[in-house]
């Protein structure tokens, strides 16, 4: 083995023992969510409402997005600080051209244990096989209703639910498993779909996860009355399809897991409003233009792109990441009130949910 290595490689080797970074509340850094575009072809009312993200909205130009090389370099540095799982998000990540190439680059990273992607499913029928071939392990598909009228009203671009179901089928055929289905439940809008969704995915191997409606971003007009508490969701499902609780797969898992007593598989509830999990949150979030956020509900991020583009060495970027994480004290969901809901917060289309 040669002792002469490129400077950047050497730098990473030197910082590999810094894996134990923890924040002011003792939380480790284990997950990195990477948004690869701020664009989406849906206009879901709770995320990118048309009134805000209309025809005149200025999305980021290509040169402001992190390149795949920049994302991979950052991911490698994050792994040295303990990141084990990377999730690709957006916007809609399948709208980033050649996303398959990024997947190839990320799966090649030493130390990465899990790589997944969250998608609205609209392009999955076309892309599932290619994603699998590139090395993606699994996908999470957002789907808020099986009722075409409700689904179209929620995505607000007239996209039919069959298109997403075809995408899920393609993901299954490509063995992108386990497939998780994320359903945001908003009272009076789609809470009538809780049981139909549970019935539909029961016995399919897909893990359906119900997400309490949250006050993400600044545009969705959230109120506590819109939230269907996870406990209520579980009771509703359990009333027809009996459930029993499961333990977490790992510390910090956001979903509370249940399995059907009849062996029909598993569901989860993500109760960030009624049962916040800030205390075990190990997630960092990187926007498409390289801003690092340590909370989904933060107002500001930390600019890593400038460090990359100023030609700073890995050690310096690594130190910046460590300092940002060590200084982290956010726990928004534990202090949420109707007043905090009005605070300025990063848009979900930037930070990737």
């Amino acid at each position: 083995m040669s002792v002469i290595r490129p400077v950047l490689e050497g730098a990473i080797g030197d910082i590999a023992d810094t894996r134990t970074v923890t924040d002011t509340l003792g939380r480790s850094l284990r997950d990195l969510r990477v948004s690869v575009t701020d664009r989406c072809n849906f206009r879901c009312t709770y995320c990118m409402p048309k009134e805000v993200f209309g025809r005149g909205y200025q999305f980021l130009p290509q040169e402001r997005l992190l390149t795949f090389e920049e994302i991979t370099r950052l991911a490698r540095i994050f792994i040295t600080h303990g990141v084990q799982k990377v999730r690709i998000t957006g916007g809609e990540p399948l709208l980033r051209r050649d996303i398959e190439r990024l997947i190839e680059m990320l799966v090649a990273l030493d130390g990465l244990q899990d790589l997944s992607l969250t998608t609205n499913g609209s392009l999955l029928a076309k892309k599932a096989a290619g994603l699998k071939k590139a090395g993606l392990r699994r996908v999470t598909v957002s789907l808020d209703s099986l009722d075409n009228a409700v689904f179209k009203a929620m995505n607000d671009v007239d996209f039919p639910v069959e298109g997403v179901l075809e995408g899920i089928e393609a993901a299954r055929a490509a063995a992108l498993s386990p497939i998780k289905i994320n359903m945001v439940v908003k009272r009076g809008v789609n809470d009538g779909d809780v049981l139909p969704m549970a019935r539909h995915f029961h016995g399919t191997g897909c893990i359906l996860r119900f997400i309490e409606y949250m006050d993400v971003g600044t545009t969705n007009g959230w109120g506590l009355e819109d939230v269907v508490p996870a406990g209520e969701i579980v009771r509703r499902v359990d009333g027809e399809l009996p459930l029993e609780p499961l333990g977490p797969n790992y510390r910090g898992e956001v979903a509370r897991r249940y399995r059907y007593r009849d062996g029909g598989g598993e569901i989860g509830v993500i109760a960030s409003v009624t049962q916040p999990f800030c205390g075990s949150c190990t997630r960092a979030r990187l926007t498409a233009e390289g801003q690092l956020y340590t909370c989904l509900f933060a107002a500001t991020g930390h600019n890593l792109r400038d460090l990359l583009r100023e030609g700073r060495p890995d050690e310096e970027i690594s130190t910046a990441v460590r300092d940002i994480w060590s200084g982290r004290s956010d726990r928004y969901s534990e202090i949420r009130t109707s007043q905090t809901a009005l605070r300025p917060k990063v848009e979900m289309s930037h930070v990737g949910g």
């Binding site: 989406c40 072809n41 290509q62 809609e92 980033r96 051209r97 392009l123």
Partner: protein
């Protein structure tokens, strides 16, 4: 949504739009590019990329580009 690529593309053919299209629905013609109306998913990724603002929705074509509506349509029949 159907998009029309108009006059500014001729002689330009910068192809930045092709380079960002996630679904490869922008096709090269002799003198300009064309967007396939059925393959396009309306993501608008080309918006900040086209250096000559040659792409418009077919509902919003300036009168001087009228002939391009037929020209774009004709490319895919």
């Amino acid at each position: 949504m159907t998009y029309i690529i108009g006059e500014p593309c001729i002689g330009t053919k910068d192809a930045s739009c092709v380079n960002v299209c996630p679904v490869d629905c922008i096709y090269e013609g002799d003198d300009q590019f064309y967007i396939h109306p059925d393959e396009c998913i309306d993501c608008g990724a080309w918006e900040p990329e086209c250096p000559v603002q040659a792409i418009v929705p077919d509902t919003d074509v300036p009168p001087e580009w009228d002939s391009y509506i037929e020209k774009n349509r004709g490319h895919f029949v």
